[in-house]
Symmetry: C2
Subunit: 230 residues, 2 copies
DNA sequence: CTTTGCCCGATTGTTCAACAATCCGACGAT
DNA sequence: ATCGTCGGATTGTTGAACAATCGGGCAAAG
């Protein structure tokens, strides 16, 4: 009886979470706003975020800003220096390797597990999105398409947890890119790789796809390390 | 110059983080206390955590408890139901598979990368710890040793991020175990597996070690799913 | 001229009190 | 028995307050 109660309880809870019509808490909205500014490069790595300033800028209480900071800190987008304030996270050399270690683990694992046809189609869609952006000389679109591509690969696994981990990693990398401007042809060279990986995936040659992806990630890390301080 | 400044700044920041002599914020201590109670099963899945109660129990402000909740929610140990309160997370069938998907990704990836001799030694130490606990009929020790074993495997990769992800996943599983009491011989059957994996790792046969580990995780997931509601 | 020590302003960490919004359960009407 | 309605309890959010801590500037000492 207790088990059925618990089951019913969590089922309702899940339904509520699904049906909920977008009433995010104020702290969540503040966090979302800051996330946006971080992604767009309005807030650059190393920048300081003063509680009172943000509080009055956004018209909310300082305590609320504080809660938003906790969210962002948990996502590593921001670091807290006790008694000194919070600063936009700034990745250093070691972090690059660390981030790519995570990406190798979850992306390769996901692609080697294959995925439903719809999810494979999502990967293909990201490839096409990249080609379209390249044709239109849309550099920002190229970057987004690339992130969609890798996000779609992880989504193959169909794991909520892996998806959130990946999205956080991508957010970190986005932050990182703002530090050193990427040259115009940065992503363009990866388009053929993406397509080849996608081809292998569609052909069901998962081992090969995994190897290609792994090689891609290694090359990408090398390039990132070279571009930045090192 | 700005780059050197930034580098110096983060270097100092890292040093400060390393040297800091344990002055965790109050919110952090509250979170730690709750984490402990969660791990020990004092707080069972589904239980409600009332802000005011915890606040006066621990002698801190409600806002501080709130911040601690944010930490725990980010770690998925607790779920927030808006306007209703926070509840100890309770994993359901789907979550088991999800958690094991994450474990497969990061543990297999880590072991296939090998690791420094010291880190391999740490894996061996966890195996011995398990054998000692088995000899002493220490069931709780067996469980801990098993978690140390898998933690040590992930630590092979030497990635801060992977380590924290793994520790969070292990915390989630710990929570999960409290739901259905595990029978006395639950872990004992895994001891030979652990040793065999460790042997392969020490022998440098990483592919084999990876396969063994993967098989182990699949079996483990199957068993967990069977034990619990299904 | 450099270094040491000290103090001051600014910001964070934490608490407290208050109020609106929301939810749960009980009570009562139909 | 079902459905509204109401009241109590808890959360969400705010504002203000105070101690603790930090960084920088200034002055004194070497």
């Amino acid at each position: 009886m207790t088990t059925s109660d618990a089951a019913a309880g969590s089922a309702l809870g899940a339904a509520a979470a699904r049906l909920r019509v977008a009433v995010p808490s104020v702290a969540d909205r503040v966090a979302a706003e800051l996330r946006l500014q971080l992604a767009e490069g309005v807030l650059l790595p190393g920048a300081r975020l003063t509680e009172s300033t943000i509080a009055e800028d956004l018209g909310v209480s300082r305590n609320t800003v504080r809660e938003a900071f906790a969210e962002l800190a948990a996502e590593r987008l921001v670091v807290r220096h006790p008694n000194r304030g919070v600063f936009v996270a700034s990745l250093e050399a070691g972090d690059i390797h660390d981030v790519y270690t995570v990406r190798r683990a979850i992306e390769v694992s996901a692609i080697r597990g294959g995925g439903s046809p719809e999810r494979v189609a999502a990967v293909r869609a990201a490839v096409e999105e990249g080609k379209a952006a390249a044709a239109a000389n849309d550099e920002e679109g190229l970057g987004n398409a690339n992130q969609h591509f890798h996000g779609a690969i992880v989504a193959l696994a169909g794991s909520r947890r892996l998806d959130t981990i990946m999205s956080q990693v991508l957010a970190e990398m986005r932050l990182f890119f703002h530090k050193a401007t990427v040259d115009a042809h940065f992503y363009r060279g990866y388009l053929p790789d993406n397509e080849e990986i996608c081809n292998a995936l569609e052909a069901g040659d998962l081992d090969h796809a995994g190897e290609l992806l792994l090689a891609y990630l290694n090359r990408s890390e090398e390039r990132q390390s070279a571009v930045h301080g090192e």
